[in-house]
Amino acid sequence: MKLNRLFKQHSIKGLAAALLCASALPVSAAQEYLLTVTRPGHLHVIDMKTNEVERSCDIPGKFGSGAITVSPDGKTAFVLSNIWEDVYGFDIRSCQIVFHAAQSSASERVKSFQSLTVSRDGTELYTVQNPTRLLSDRYEILEPRLAVYRIADGLGAQPVRTFPVDRRITKIAATDTGEVILGGGDVKAINTQTGDVRMVAALQNWDRGPLWLPPDAFAMHSQGEQANEYIMPYVTARFSDEEWDFETAEWWWGLSRVDLSTGEAELIEAIPFEFIVFNFITDPRDSNILYGSFNTLSKHDISTQETLIVKEMPHTYYNLNISGDGSTIYVGGTSSDISIHDSETLEKIGAIHLSGDMTTSDLRVATIRE
């Protein structure tokens, strides 16, 4: 998976370096930046070597949800602002705004629920738009659509293509196969040229029989860039019989993980539901090892269905991400501090204090390889 991605993304020169250290330190030559948004509207660019805030960019408009997506070269971060309506692209090396799409117009209000991703060649930005027509005495609810923007159009960009999609789509991710993964009631993929939609992993419409509780999936935050995957956790239960007794049912965390190289998904119930986890990430070195955060930071081995470590946290952290070498976990969201942990032991090894609360914001990693 990782090699495949490196082949596609790097020049011949980069490829040689990547091949040399592929198993141990896949991106050791690269500079990683941790990105997050705080209220009232700042994009923070954090150097993951020093764990210092290198710069903070002012985001125009009212706070959105803090959704962030990063261009494949790691240089541009796209942020959803203005209460989920506008997308701003920042050069994270200078805070310069290089892209702006105002999705709403006078007669149509458009909201995107976290749905923001960049094509793997870095040329197109995708959003899922939820439009509402504003009539004089009522709203008309219009069909959602995938909107395709040319990033080169810069400020004032307008969609160059749109395709109808399902309702209730939240986070999305582009694949090497020219599709965008759409996380909604089910996980689907849309071809960004033709608009053809295929089922990737049925959730709401899964066919497990009456003893399985239909999964409840939430996809508030985007992550997975370090494992080159789209990860959507869900909760389900297997009942012992058709009495459907919630008390005696087996409760599971399930994962729908899509390999962004191939667009193929696995759907597994692998972690017993013992406590609430808001987000999971996969260790880039071992796809069986997952970390989760909420009121706890936890480490899980899905090959053995074991919870390896659970660490009580001093407050709630919605979100987490990981360094490219898999050694360091960054736990953030909710409040104004990012807690840094050793991935082996989950011991806290540092903290980053920000100027405001992250609340629902994403915690993304931008990797600049030069």
Partner: protein, 532 residues
Amino acid sequence: MALINNKTKKALSGSGVLLLAGLASLPLAAQEGHQLLRNNCGVCHAESGSADNPVFSRISEQRKSPEGWLMTINRMVHLRDVEISADDKRNLVRYLADTQGLAPDEAAPFRYLLEQDTNLIETGVDAELVETCARCHSGARFALQRRTEQEWQYLVDFHMGQFPTTELHALSRDRAWYEIARNQTASTLALQYALDTPEWSQWQSEPKADVTGRWRVVGFVPGKGEFDAVMLAERADDGRYDLSITGRYADGSELSGDGKATLYTGYEWRASLTLDGVRMRQVMALDEQGLSGRMFLAAEREIGGSIQAIQDQGEAAVLALLPSFVRKGEHAEVEVIGHNLQADSLSLGAGVVIEQILSQGPDSIRVRVSATGDEGIYPVQLGDVAQSAGLAVYEQVARVDVLPQDAVARIGGGGMMAKVRTAYRVVGYSAGPDGIPGTEDDLRLGYMPASWQILPADEEAEHDQDHIYAGEIDANGIFTPGIDGPNPERRMSANNVGRLTVVATVTDGEEVVEGSGNLLVSVPDFVRRVLD
């Protein structure tokens, strides 16, 4: 319906003072109402129909409570930048509630919401409507509205447009929520809560009573206790009523105040008054018995109590007995509250001997009674006319119910939001004929004095010391929650939230009876709604 009753018939025959609508409760002239709608709403709401019977888009396809219309106009001000004068707003609410309101029978099952008494768990709401609507709102919120099917669909669209993440909530994101809500739920709502109903047609055609005059009132104010009072209502030039109220609490202290009342839809009494310097609100419904409902602090709707009133119609009438119970074989002082009372016509039946008349006046008779009869309710008799109020004779208090049984208090006071307190009372019961407390034949005795304490709801709450941090309850049964904001003393710096059991102890002779209620001390609610 309600108001065509014996009293009304007497009034019609000339013996009473009850006037008919048209004279007293005249709604704003239709022309004036139409013009208010044109002036304030016409820019966006298209007018059709005839000049005499205009139809305004969206508006004409709905009926709702006065609070419902007030919410709608508030929403237009806050969300749609409507500028409307205070007079126009008041007149519009009244015109719409009068002409597009709810019949008494339509509002009756959901009065708790109008009365702002939200510390209860609703039952009996259709499962489909719970999943679609009542997972965020009270069931009463939509049950107090009547709309065409298209209007219910537009209401679904409003939710999607105004609160776009509605379809992403739990119980939405796992199904095609918008399609279900718009195509199925709107139909269900249109069937259950249709715009045109026989109840409303009938209510519109019925004569409406006048509330002008003298009212005898009993009620309860948390922290102060039960009171009885006389309230005078005089019609003001603006169509409202000027109120004055004087009375006293059970401990003998006096109360007085004045204010304004409006009678919406011919029966919905809403009053704002200042009682001994404290702003209060009354929400009552008028029926053949009189007015009944709830009075609460204007600034704290959770702090309130029941209130009843009967109008002086020239005849002797009893409103209440204070207290309403006496133990079998014992003596007690009881006050009979009413109008035009005469002590020599008063009796309490064969089981309750009036031993002595302690004081008497037209509004109140104080008597010393001896409960000689068996357990049961002994209705007050004035001459040979039985009154609805009665005295309960009981052998033993077998059960006490803590009210509210389930409540939510909210931490506050540290930031933007005030604390939300809870006011408790206890109702005592005897076991009834079967001797088993908690069964249907239990005899309701009435509100009783109690002592109060809070306990952690369970082991986890005890471990987190919720009973230490979440707040305290005073001798009057008023629970005051803790301050909001992270508390570094607590696990995960939790706010002073908690899950508590509120325990009331009632002493009945040698016996002690306990009852309990569930109290959730939660985080501040930053959205202040007219109706939850």
